[in-house]
């Protein structure tokens, strides 16, 4: 297996499971991209070889256990922060699971990510520390950098349960160029039954797209795009005005290019149904001469580079194409920090590691 193409095809269209010859390689690719749980759910009910079925059944159960643990962390955070009377907004996998969304099914969930208003940060920090969470790292430089420029508190871990929590006050670092309207995101939140919140559906996708491009070197990108594909389909099916609202919100947060690219990539990889009526999207469609793919949607040369990077996993679960990989790492840091700051940050980081 040379790349992740078969995996994404199978996720988009589970019925072609009969074509799979090498389940071992497929499993290795899925695991390396944290998609084994999602794949297991997509394949449920299909006729598979018995040992393959047993493997995916175990993966489904594991996904359920992960879901239970993730929702429990959210509940314990809720209990610790309830007296503060500030809105606590769940993000990413925990939010999808809590809201019963398709994107949450089988999703591997790591840390708990929550979003709070920036003004509430000191109180939130105090309450969490009092309820058994403690700092992970104890480095003054990292701490100062974090508090001043990052969009989240330094990482906290619960001393008994050994699970991490990331407390965000924005979806992008303060030094990054797009500046999302965080007040508006908090205001547009949707309530869950237990008093916690999630972002509004359009903001969920905006956040996911921002995370995909700005918050890393596209690591975990296939899973991130799978989230976007599932979210988009579910929200569109429930509300025909969703697409228009998505572009509006994306524009408001200064993230229309990121969202547009994310949707194009999701369409290319997972066949997310996009019709070309969205005027804004069309105008951002290609920055070069891409080929058409029949839907009226054109994929640009830059998009192709992203797709190559995203699919670069071989049948052993290894990341291929190291040069493309480096390019993305530097680019993502550039997005987060202006060049001078980046130089200083990297220099201090390098100096400290030398010790």
């Amino acid at each position: 297996m040379r790349d992740a193409r078969l995996l994404v095809r199978l996720l988009a269209d589970p019925a072609c499971a009969g074509e799979v010859k090498d389940w071992t390689s497929l499993t290795a690719v899925a695991r390396s991209e944290s998609l084994i749980g999602s794949l297991a759910w997509r394949l449920q009910g299909l006729k598979l070889p018995p040992r393959v079925e047993a493997l995916f059944e175990a993966a489904r159960r594991d996904g359920e256990a992960a879901r239970t643990q993730a929702l429990w962390e959210a509940e314990m955070a809720r209990r610790a922060l309830a007296p503060l009377n500030v809105p606590i907004i769940l993000l990413k996998g925990t939010a999808y699971a809590a809201a019963g969304l398709e994107a949450g099914r089988g999703r591997s969930i790591g840390d708990l990510d929550i979003l709070v208003p920036r003004s509430a940060l000191p109180d939130v920090e105090r309450a969490l520390l009092a309820a058994g969470w403690e700092w992970v790292k104890e480095d003054p430089y990292d701490d100062r950098y974090y508090r001043r420029w990052m969009h989240e508190l330094p990482p906290l871990i619960h001393r008994e349960r050994d699970r991490m929590i990331d407390v965000h006050h924005s979806i992008l670092p303060l030094t990054a160029r797009p500046n999302p309207d965080m007040e508006s995101m908090v205001e547009a939140r949707l309530p869950l039954a237990n008093g916690l919140f999630t972002l509004s559906p359009p903001d969920m996708i905006v956040h996911s797209a921002a995370h995909l491009f700005a918050d890393g070197d596209l690591a975990g990108g296939l899973r991130n795009l799978w989230d976007i594909d599932r979210l988009f389909r579910e929200f569109e099916a429930a509300d025909s005005g969703f697409r228009a609202e998505l572009w509006t919100r994306a524009e408001r947060h200064g993230l229309l290019p990121a969202v547009a690219r994310a949707i194009r990539l999701a369409h290319h990889i997972y066949k997310t149904p996009i019709r070309c009526q969205a005027p804004k999207l069309k105008s951002l469609n290609s920055q070069g001469t891409g080929e058409g793919d029949g839907s009226g949607f054109r994929i640009s040369a830059a998009d192709r580079l992203f797709v190559r990077r995203l699919l670069a996993r071989d049948g052993w679960g290894r990341q291929r194409r190291p040069f493309t990989r480096l390019g993305f790492y530097v680019r993502s840091h550039l997005l987060r920090m202006p060049p001078l700051m980046l130089a200083r940050h990297l220099w201090v980081k390098a100096r400290k590691t030398k010790r």
Binding site: A65, T68, W72, M76, E160
Partner: protein
């Protein structure tokens, strides 16, 4: 200042097994397993009738069980704090 009112998950949300006087408890909402010694399981049993303050819980326990303590309310409050940290009990 009004006394705190405590609540616990309904009995259907836990599975318990008695072993040598200890209660092994599987808590479904969290997926965690706890080892409880008296009076912790008795406190949870007392809360099955609905949320209550520490004093009320001590009272309920007195009706259901034999309590061997000089200051049941204080002992109850201490155990409640432990149960709260473990996530088995919360303040409403």
């Amino acid at each position: 200042m009004a006394a705190s009112v405590y609540a616990a998950d309904p009995p259907g949300e836990v599975r318990d097994v008695e072993m040598e006087g200890l209660t092994l408890l599987y808590h479904r909402p969290s997926g965690l397993t706890h080892f409880l010694a008296p009076p912790a399981p008795q406190i949870l049993a007392a809360l099955a009738a609905g949320p209550a303050s520490a004093a009320e819980i001590a009272g309920r326990m007195g009706e259901l069980f034999e309590i061997d303590s000089e200051d049941p309310a204080a002992a109850t409050a201490a155990r409640l704090a432990e149960l709260e940290a473990a996530g088995l009990v919360w303040r409403t």
